[in-house]
Symmetry: C2
Subunit: 82 residues, 2 copies
């Protein structure tokens, strides 16, 4: 099924306690190469047929207005996956 | 900062109530081209320098064992972002 994928992450200058907890657990398991972990959202919008440019523009607006909270999150990526 | 990105989604045959709620809200707003919405996770693992193939192999194992619940979720994608 054709999709538009929207990716939302906590803003870089905000703490991310769940990510920090995962990073600490990985360090305890010896994964010292991983410096930090951040956890965000991947949202799939499913379409019956291939999304058009106007679908992508609408999705970008939905991502900013509805799928993310601009105070604490950034939309980092939007793309079509056929 | 170089990263490995891990993406985790609820399994296709499971209900996703938050995704369904978003889909219903979008339909009420007139976005009828969007058939369905699924919400998953995007997890960023941050590295001091560019991840190697062995980092990627380790991340794939971490993704399966630790970042996702194999009963209800699938790891859909893992990639390096320099």
């Amino acid at each position: 099924m054709p999709k538009i994928i929207v990716e939302v992450m906590p803003k870089a200058d905000l703490l991310d306690p769940p990510g920090k907890a995962v990073a600490n657990a990985l360090h305890r398991q010896g994964h010292s190469r991983i410096e930090n972990v951040r956890i965000g959202k991947r949202i799939e919008l499913h379409y019956k047929d291939t999304p058009t440019q106007s679908d992508l523009d609408a999705a970008a607006k939905i991502a900013e207005d509805f799928l993310s909270n601009g105070v604490i999150e950034d939309v980092v990526k939007i793309w079509v996956e056929a």
